[in-house]
Amino acid sequence: MTTLTTTYLGLSLRNPLVASASPLSQTTDDVRALADAGVGAVVLYSLFEEQIRQQEVADYELVAMHEDSFGEATSYFPDVDIVAGGATPYLRHLENCAGAVDIPVIGSLNGASLDGWAQCARQMQDAGAAAIEVNPYAVPGDVRVAGASIEQRHVEIVHAVKSAVTIPVAMKLSPFFSATGTMCRELDAAGVDGLVLFNRFLQPDIDIETLTVGPSVTLSSPVESGIARTWIAILRGRVKASLAATTGVETGADVVKYLLAGADVVMTASALMRHGTGYATTLLGELTGWMERKRFASVDEVRGLLALGDGVDAAQYERAGYVAALTHAKDMYGDFLVRS
């Protein structure tokens, strides 16, 4: 009998497949469908504090610009605290989802200020989130900002959120740190309960016909999974925090690879968006089939089998992988292409 149960952030999950933050969790029915398809947990789409703040200002302007401007009416709306509940729709959704399914529902939070991170996290906890995934998604466009300050900011966020809530807190990271491992260890030391590796940046594209820059949304593909897999393999056993793999899951095989590298859970949105929510059942079926074929009884047996392991030099591991990859490329494409 194959057992898929696993533990992530201290939470018991029925399997290691987690639906990551995406538009697939917009409604309670969406989340119920994910649960029905078999995922072990759901990370809700992200609450963007900045959006809430912008909406606050926009709502304020809608109210304020007509106030006290005409003798017949000094205002046009009842005197209610309209923005105290800027996050309310999200929290209400979180509450509904948490009540609708028997798997953990994790809130995803993109804050704008330390106070905001802490306040929103507390509200999510109150709304019934099983855990919080903090997502400091930001492309530092200010060329004067030093890397150290960005890293420091990540640690501060963990401190702020951890001190605000009692439920577990994971952080979704960018792969673009000069020393990813050190960053992860610092976050680990700051008390983060999980690391989600890695975030993808939806980078704007250029339309050469209209000469405009516009948003570009592309789903991830397995070729993008290497960097996350590598870092998970390296971090396995080197941090206390749970490790979640995300990006580039297309088949059950991709799930297996992440587990072998050392992931506690494997997250996917692109595959589910590409193939539909029910595809989670397929992925789990493929995982189970592979385990049965390879005679693994539990996920725990699989996890980290191909991780770097204690005593192995990470640089050597990476170097080895790099050299092997170069050699492989030379075999396939010839020497010239690789050198150029």
Binding site: E56, I82, G116
Partner: protein
């Protein structure tokens, strides 16, 4: 005891809410705030002094509120209402009943003018004087503190006397004045309104446990005697009121009397007055007595039952002349009511020997419609009383050069306390100046050693209007209920106002002038006009400037300059230590904006922090350096009335107009907005002739009629100014023709609806369209030149225009233009379309509301005329009677059309049989048919010139009716769904050939966003703060049920072609037509530039299904019900959550929002199913139109 700074409305409801179990309410300016606060407090669970939360119920009209009040009183509930003006008039029938039954009740009234020759929202005593005969006691407050205190006196006295009370105070002057007052504790209220009185009141109620009958029909044998039974109660009331006042004095130290005298103990001249004018008079009397004059004032607090004995006793025996001042007008009477009452009281006393001599008593009128009543005027009255033969029936405050009633006075007299500082701020409605000043006055009033007062003056425009804030503060209580005439600090928060209003006239010599100047500090002085520079130099003003708009933009709050300029005021004036002031402002920001969210607070605080570094003292040179004069208010080519009368009103000099300048019967010329040229927006529409496909969409949706199209022969371009833009006409068969879409840049409000409506992106992928908004000053100025040339090009003939299409309709001249409606208004495009389609034979009956305000609020009116001098005839009767009023107009037209046809037939031999037959037989549906008929009638007029006799005379007086008139009844949903619903229903059922346009904003827009029966389920509105939980009335479906009514529901932003079609079908239908038009509104909480997009969502979600019901189709045996919009393509949530009115509920009560959303979606689905079924029925399944067809 708690000190606070609040306005008269809040001061009143602060007591009324605590002493009531029920508030039956209906919004009407200037009393609405009382009802809103009562509703707000009850919604938040605020209890009365007995621990229960008062029930607040909004009714469909004041008549309804009075009925509910009467019922609740008979049911034993302590009940109140708040109203004014026409609202009070609608309560009169119930007031007689309530008083006749000796029922304890209080009506709180913000006293306001009545609609006579014109409506006015402002204050005087015409409304309360119109109820003095109902049997209610009338108690008058003259200040904010008094409104608070006497509200309690009224509630306590009514329970003790069983006489119902009207407690009133002056609309706006007291209702809207902020002043520092001491609040009454609950303990005082409890002591003065003991529960035993409440229980007695309840015991008088109807109850099956102790049944009786109240409200019988009485006959000649006993009615008279029964009417006399109440006399002892009225006789006892003055004593009871005084007793209550004395108790209040015992609790608070504030003593009031039914009648109060102040002044010289041996006064020879005495003024008798009531209301806030009494404060001014008393202040002036103090001044005059100090100067040795023997004058005095008697202030009346209890007006009914009239305290005749107390009045006589209050007047010093030395009084030689009594001047009674009434703030009302009773044409044709022997004098105004208070004057007559005083005469009667003194005459009785004299004839009975209670006084030795009868003083001379004269009456005067003052202060109608919030006309200023100043110390200068009061001194003028005393001076007039000193004459050998003092005038009576006089007026003060105006120049009456017709009946010579007005007395002279010294307008420059200032008697204000030197320790009271005075400041005046000129702002725009949208910049937050008033809000900031309200904060300022509250900050200042928090100091226990300081008193503060603020009053705000608004202009008559809903967009781009100016505001003037008058602030006083100082160590002594401020009793000056009149505008600041001389200020030590003048803030001009919009540079352009310097050229439009007399900003500097209010600055006292040596005072401070703070300018919000959009330029570097070095350029500020040179940017001033020569007269402005001259006045600054003459008065030695200290000049400060800041580019507050730039600071606001930097803080992420573009256009919100309020806190910035507030900070400047504190910094410059030094009224508080600078650091303390800044901290107080920030504290106020946190308090005011904290519930709007932390980002709003952060940005406002950032604005404050950035202010002082940008504030500059401007060095004033010795001499005037500017060559610039302000632009004339109106063009010199404007008609004389506009140049002399309208222009005076426009520039704030309307007070100076003499009586002779004004029409005797409220008749004003059409089309005067064309002369106003307000330039309220820095961004204006700019046409791209190359990219334009000439579809007409932009002109169709423009709410302000600033986009005009013409096509013309290219030869017409001879002499065109450089930069006049045109394009080849995009139409087959007219190769030599050019097309111009002219933007009237000075009238453009920059709303952006045209850009939204434009379907073209001339540069693929670019966001630019064929019409765009531009901030380029050259665009504005070029527009001015080009409009002049454009107007010289002939208007396209209607016969050459296909106005069955939006494309064609653009060439029809709008006869509704440049209104003062909100920028991007959702209503005005419909009115403009009405004027384009039917304007030269249009009569409009306009319900009171937004459309009557932007349509008929002086100084200027947007309804205009064409080159032939024809155009819409417009009138506003009332709020509640518009359908009936319009029906009357239609019937008058029918009567005179019939008369004209009869007389024409009688003159057959004189004017020619062919012509007579042609006129009588002419169809008048198509434009060509109407044009032909007009030609025939012109020919008839010519032929009639030689015909004598009474029949010809008669025909001449009605001949214009031979061209079919188009009568339209227009108004908003407050009228159609609520207050005018009964009349509208009757007109719909009348079968008469009249057209009705309901511009449905789903809320009372004009009075500030109160819920109506058109407000949809799940929306938040005032009086529905917890979300409307009853579905919107389906007026369209109700009307179709009659079978004889043409019905259409339209949304111009979703399907302009369907709108156009519906308007034309409705007008041509020989019967009653009803068009219900979706009108986006600022009260929806949307970005108004996206109004059309929101209209599409309303339709696409099924909230606003487009439909037409045409009885003529049924008569042809086909299905008359057309569903013009496709099945819903988006869920309701996608539509509603784009609007703040719905989002508010989702954010404050998410569970309830979900529940109501579910119900609303269900209602949409169900209605759609009904409509779909109706659209597929056979004709026989609809009610037939059973009216007799005209032969």
């Amino acid at each position: 005891m708690t000190r606070t700074t609040i306005d008269g409305n809040e001061a009143t409801v602060h007591v009324a809410h605590r002493l009531s179990e029920l508030c039956a309410i209906y919004p009407i300016t200037p009393s609405s705030t009382m009802a809103e606060l009562a509703d707000d407090w009850s919604a938040k669970g605020r209890a009365n002094i007995w621990g229960t939360v008062p029930t607040v119920i909004e009714m469909q009209s004041e008549g309804g509120a009075a009925g509910a009040l009467h019922g609740a009183l008979q049911g034993g509930a302590l009940s109140t209402t708040f109203t004014a003006s026409q609202g009070l008039l609608l309560m009169i029938p119930n007031m007689y009943k309530i008083a006749g039954e000796l029922t304890s009740a209080v009506l709180h009234v913000a006293a306001r003018s009545l609609a006579a020759q014109g409506l006015s929202i402002f204050g005087d005593h015409q409304d309360v004087m119109a109820v003095r005969q109902t049997g209610f006691a009338l108690l008058s407050s003259g200040s904010v503190q008094e409104a608070h205190d006497l509200a309690l006196v009224a509630h306590a006295a009514t329970l003790r006397s069983r006489i119902p009370f009207v407690h009133f105070f002056d609309g706006f002057r007291t209702s809207h004045e902020l002043n520092t007052i001491d609040l009454l504790d609950d303990a005082v209220l409890r002591a003065m309104v003991p529960e035993s009185l409440v229980h007695e009141h309840r015991m008088r109620a109807l109850s099956p446990e102790r049944p009786f009958v109240r409200g019988t029909a009485q006959n000649p044998d006993v009615y008279f005697q029964a009417r006399e039974t109440v006399n002892p109660f009225y006789a006892a009331t003055p004593g009871i009121v005084q007793e209550v006042m004395d108790e209040l004095a015992g609790h608070t130290g504030r003593a009031y009397h039914l009648v109060e005298y102040a002044g010289h103990p041996e006064a020879e001249r005495v003024v008798v007055i009531m209301g806030s004018g009494g404060e001014t008079t008393q202040e002036t009397v103090d001044h005059l007595v100090a100067q040795g004059e023997k004058v005095g004032v008697v202030r009346i607090r209890l007006y009914r039952p009239f305290p005749a004995e107390e009045l006589v006793a209050a007047i010093p025996a030395t009084a030689r002349v009594i001047g009674v001042l009434d703030r009302t007008k009773e044409p044709g009477s022997g004098g105004e009511p208070l004057y007559l009452d005083v005469i009667a009281a003194l005459s009785a006393a004299y004839s009975e020997g209670r006084i030795a001599a009868m003083p001379r008593v004269v009456g005067g009128r003052y202060g109608l419609s919030s006309k200023e009543f100043t110390p200068g005027m009061v001194a003028g009255v005393y001076a007039a009383l000193a004459a050998e033969r003092p005038p009576t029936g006089f007026t003060v405050g105006i120049v009456d050069d017709v009946s010579r009633t007005s007395i002279d006075y010294d307008p420059t007299l200032v008697i204000e306390d030197e320790e009271t500082l005075r400041a005046v701020f000129f702002g725009l409605g949208s910049d937050g100046t008033v809000g900031a000043n309200k904060n300022t006055i509250k900050i200042l009033g928090e100091d226990p050693n300081r008193n503060a007062q603020a009053y705000f003056v608004y202009d008559s425009k809903k967009s781009g209007g100016s505001t003037v804030s008058h602030l006083r503060f100082g160590p002594h209580p401020i009793k000056a209920p009149y505008l600041v005439g001389s200020a030590g600090f003048v803030g001009c928060h919009h540079f352009g106002l310097l050229d439009k209003l007399d900003v500097l006239g209010l600055a006292r010599p040596g005072g401070v002038l703070l300018l919000n100047a959009p330029m570097p500090k070095e350029e500020v002085w040179d940017a001033l006009s020569a007269p402005a520079q001259s006045e600054i130099l003459a008065k030695g003003l200290q000049l400060y400037a800041i580019d507050a708009d730039s600071v606001a933009r930097g803080a992420g709050l573009p256009g919100r300059t309020n806190t910035i300029l507030q900070t400047c005021f504190f910094a410059i004036s030094g009224v508080m230590p600078r650091e303390d002031a800044i901290e107080a402002i920030k504290k106020s920001i946190r308090k005011t904006y904290g519930r709007r969210g932390p980002e709003v607070v952060r940005r406002n605080e950032a604005a404050v922090d950035a202010t002082l570094a940008q504030l500059n003292r401007i060095e004033v040179p010795q001499n005037v350096t500017s060559q610039r004069s302000p632009r004339p208010v109106v063009s010199q080519e404007a008609p004389e009335f506009v140049r002399t009368v309208t222009a005076a009103m426009m520039s704030g000099r309307g007070d100076d107009l003499p009586v002779s300048a004004l029409p005797v019967d409220g008749t004003f010329p059409s089309g005067t907005t064309a002369y106003e040229k307000r330039r309220i927006s820095d961004i204006v529409a700019q046409w791209d002739p190359q990219g334009c496909i000439q579809c007409g969409n932009c002109a169709f949706v423009c709410p302000h009629a600033v986009l005009r199209s013409k096509f013309y022969d290219s030869a017409a371009l001879d002499g065109a100014p450089e930069g006049f833009e045109s394009a080849p006409l995009n139409a087959a068969g007219l190769p030599q023709s050019r097309y111009t879409l002219q933007v009237y840049t000075e009238d453009c409000t920059g709303c952006g609806l045209c850009v939204e409506a434009c379907p073209v992106h001339p540069i693929p992928g670019s966001t630019r369209k064929a019409i765009n908004l531009s901030a380029d000053e050259d665009v504005m100025e070029r527009g001015v030149t080009n409009v002049g040339f454009f107007e010289s090009i002939a208007q396209n003939e209607r016969a050459r225009v296909d106005f069955g299409t939006v494309r064609g309709a653009q060439f029809l001249q709008p006869l509704f233009e440049f209104s003062g409606a909100c920028s991007g208004c959702g209503e005005t495009p419909y009115l403009k379309l009405l004027s384009q389609l039917f304007g030269d034979r249009l009569t409009v009956a306009n319900a009171t509301g937004c459309s009557s305000i932007y349509g008929g609020n002086l100084p200027t009116t947007p309804w205009t005329r064409n080159a032939q001098g024809r155009g819409p005839a417009w009138s506003n009767s009332l709020f509640e009677d518009n359908a009936e009023f319009g029906l009357g107009l239609q019937i008058a037209a029918d009567v005179h059309t019939r008369l004209a046809r009869e007389r024409l037939a009688m003159l057959r031999d004189q004017v020619g049989g062919d012509l007579v037959d042609a006129i009588l037989a002419a169809p008048q549906i198509r434009e060509s048919e109407l044009a032909a008929q007009r030609t025939r009638v012109e020919e008839l007029t010519r032929r009639l010139e030689g015909v004598e006799g009474p029949v010809a005379q008669d025909l001449r007086s009605v001949a214009d009716h031979l061209v079919r008139r188009s009568v339209w009844i227009v108004g908003g949903d407050g009228w159609a769904y609520d207050i005018g619903s009964g009349g509208l229903d009757h007109v719909l059922a009348s079968g008469q050939n009249v057209n009705i346009l309901v511009m449905d904003t789903e809320v009372y827009s004009n009075t500030g966003g109160q819920s109506s029966k058109a407000t949809p389920i799940a929306a938040v509105a005032k009086f529905a703060a917890a979300g409307k939980s009853v579905a919107k009335k389906d007026l369209a479906l109700q009307a179709t049920a009659y079978g004889s009514v043409y019905v259409a529901r339209v949304a111009l932003g979703a399907d302009p072609q369907q709108t156009l079609r519906a308007f034309r079908e409705a007008e041509s239908y020989d019967g009653t037509s009803l068009v219900i038009a979706y009108s986006h509104c600022i009260a929806h909480g949307i970005d108004m530039s996206k109004g059309l997009e929101q209209q599409k969502r309303a339709v696409n979600s099924g909230h606003w299904p487009l439909m037409r019901y045409d009885p003529t189709i049924r008569d042809r045996g086909e299905n008359p019900f057309f569903l013009d919009s496709p099945r819903p393509t988006i869920p309701l949530s996608e539509y509603i959550y784009k609007e703040l009115r719905y989002r508010m509920l989702r954010q404050t009560a998410p569970e309830e929002a979900e529940r109501l959303l579910g119900l609303a979606q269900n209602a949409v689905d169900q209605r759609w199913a009904v409509y779909e079924e109706m659209a597929t029925r056979g004709a026989s399944q609809f009610i037939p139109d059973a009216r007799k067809k005209k032969s």
